[in-house]
Amino acid sequence: MKSSEKYNKNKKRNQILVFSLFRVLNIAVIAILILILFFIFIRGYKTLSWEFITAMPEEGMTKGGIYPAIIGTLCLIGGSIIFAFPLGIFSGIYINEYTKNNWFKRFVSMMTNNLAGIPSIVFGLFGMALFVNTLGFGDSIIAGSLTLGILTLPVIIKTTEEALKSIDDSFRLGSYALGATKLQTIRKVILPIAFPNIITGLILSVGRVSGETAPILFTVAAYFLPKLPSGIFDQVMALPYHLYVISTSGTNITESRPVAYGTALVLIIMILIINLLANGLRMFFKNKVKMN
């Protein structure tokens, strides 16, 4: 009897020990995140001003703003959205609504997963070989946007697929019973229900596009270009590349540090806004569904 009491005591003690260790490790993970955000905020907020985000870079990028880099990143986001959103959403719809559970579906989802696992620098190489050289776009917004679009394609497909998968079949059957065609069912019934989940995924994929550096290194990014692009075949500066350049290979690394902190902060704020937007929308739609 005594030994079993001891065993139980040990059991309890072990559990408390292990669980608190796990809690500490989990807190450490969150602490790292907060440390990174906090650190960049503290160092960067002094640089951040209206002028910083609306002025051209000056004096070897040690002074002035990052306006062209912001515009460049927005161009790239826009370009990749135009290319990747329709393609990805269509693909997701086809896989979930039209294919049965056969080899084709398995093959396509395997390819999508593989594409998602390819390192971003490989996309950069590919974009350079195909868009910049073979198709002759040169270093341009269109080459960079297409490369980034390809990079986010698997994310968009997966998001759409998951969103559609979660819709109960009764919606589809109900619509068919009323005489609607498959296309009508998808357009009028399925997509509106899946919309909240799809849009959240799309927003998060925009976050990924805005932060990627490796794919744009050789397809679009300009080191220093204090003017705005005039067409899709122009080079642009981009925020992540700008941060990379001024923190490692700029002409004067110490003097451009404040600009680097500022750029990092702008990037982080962008990502924060995107994440908040995605989570906010998720909550908003969840509540709306509940109310209905």
Partner: protein, 401 residues
């Protein structure tokens, strides 16, 4: 009529959707074509800069040299022909600039019009010579013999210990240091990330309640959303100086710094996938264990973790895959020295970082350019294998069920 229209529009829509769904497969095929076209053509190239040749005296029995031997000769690590051929004779190195030490400016001519004759003369009268000269200054009737440099072979590519793609006269394309560097940094990252990642996954899936989870999950998502270049920057200004001071190093850009940054970046992958796997454990299994008197921890340890083992492994493997392919952060914090690493406190260079750092300077279509594409191919193959293996095991599991 209306019915016909409905039918055709349905058909058209279906074919558009079908075409879209093949896009990812098409893109992968295109990636393979474009990457491997450049990458494989590397193995048809001679590692000597185009337009230049290596010339020896006709009496010299040597016909072909390995690129690494050429480098040893020109670095004066080999100073006698004895170790290359059987003929004993000390090696005399001549680069194009050295010709001016042997002949006066008048002999060569003010516009170098006699340069090729001078070179022929020099080669003819020096038996131990090896000259690295532009092809246009080589006189075919002279006493010289062009030696071939062996083409880049797959074996040399993988086992070569030196990566000097722009070295003169012969480029050294051994990727062993890059491969080892990549593995070292990635494995280090996983070792660091594993305790944090698994503990967090178990904590989120089994220990904490839903309300805390709802706060923590978006934070993990945010951790995944921070751009790699920001992690690299953070590593550069915080982790690198920290490592430098901690170990009293002359440079803080080391494999360890890279591993720490990569560990932070791999955490979301490991946590999310492992947590999902842990959550698939059927409630009945857990309840059975608890009803037998097992504590919550015993249940987790003996029931939940074994059940989710394959999913957790998938998370870890995908985390490694992410770490191997990560470019910018590693490029910024590891110091990028292309030498075989021996400890975690040395600068290393990974495959993706090499591509990112060097592609901008490599002339298009040249040897260096192709070598970088070959590196891209290797990266592609490694990550493809990782992904396929994870998917295969996942498929097998679903089929079993």
């Amino acid at each position: 009529m209306k019915k016909f229209f409905r039918n055709t529009s349905g058909k058209v829509a279906e074919s558009i959707l079908f075409l879209s769904s093949t896009s990812t497969s098409l893109i992968i095929i295109l990636i393979v074509i474009f990457l491997f076209k450049e990458g494989i053509s590397l193995f048809n190239e001679k590692p000597v800069e185009e337009g230049n040749i290596l010339v020896v005296n006709k009496s010299n029995p040597v016909n072909e040299l390995k690129s690494s031997t050429v480098k040893d000769i020109f670095d004066q690590n080999i100073t006698n022909w004895e170790s290359v051929t059987h003929k004993k004779d000390s090696i005399i190195l001549v680069r194009i600039d050295d010709v001016f030490n042997y002949y006066t400016e008048e002999e060569i001519g003010s516009n170098f019009e006699n340069l090729s004759t001078c070179i022929s003369d020099l080669v003819a009268k020096t038996p131990g010579i090896i000259a690295f000269i532009p092809e246009k200054f080589f006189n075919k009737q002279s006493q010289g013999k062009i030696i071939k440099v062996r083409k880049v072979s797959i074996r040399d590519f993988f086992s070569g210990k030196e990566w000097m793609p722009t070295a003169h006269p012969a480029a050294q394309l051994g990727i062993l240091p890059l491969l080892l560097g990549t593995l070292l940094v990635s494995l280090g990252a996983i070792i660091i990330a594993l305790p944090f990642g698994l503990a967090s996954a178990i904590y989120l899936a089994e220990i904490t309640d839903e309300s805390k989870r709802r706060v923590i999950k978006p934070l993990i998502e945010l951790l995944a959303g921070i751009p790699s270049v920001v992690y690299g920057f953070f590593g550069l200004v915080v982790i690198v100086p920290f490592i430098q001071n901690l170990f009293n190093l002359s440079v803080g850009e080391t494999a360890l710094s890279g591993s720490i940054v990569l560990a932070i970046m791999a955490l979301p992958t490991i946590i999310t996938i492992s947590e999902d796997a842990l959550r698939t454990t059927p409630r009945s299994l857990k309840e059975a264990s608890l009803s037998l008197g097992a504590s919550k921890w015993q249940t987790i340890y003996r029931v939940v973790i074994p059940y989710a083992k394959s999913g957790i492994t998938a998370g870890i493997i995908l985390g490694i895959g992410r770490a191997i392919g990560e470019t910018m952060a590693v490029l910024m914090v590891t110091g990028n020295a292309a030498v075989i690493p021996h400890t975690f406190l040395e600068p290393v260079r990974t495959i993706p970082a090499t591509i990112a750092a060097e592609l901008g300077e490599a002339p298009q279509g040249g040897l260096h350019f192709k070598a970088l594409f070959a590196l891209g191919c290797i990266l592609f193959i490694i990550t493809l294998l990782i992904n396929l293996s994870v998917q295969m095991s996942a498929n097998r599991k679903t089929l079993k069920k």
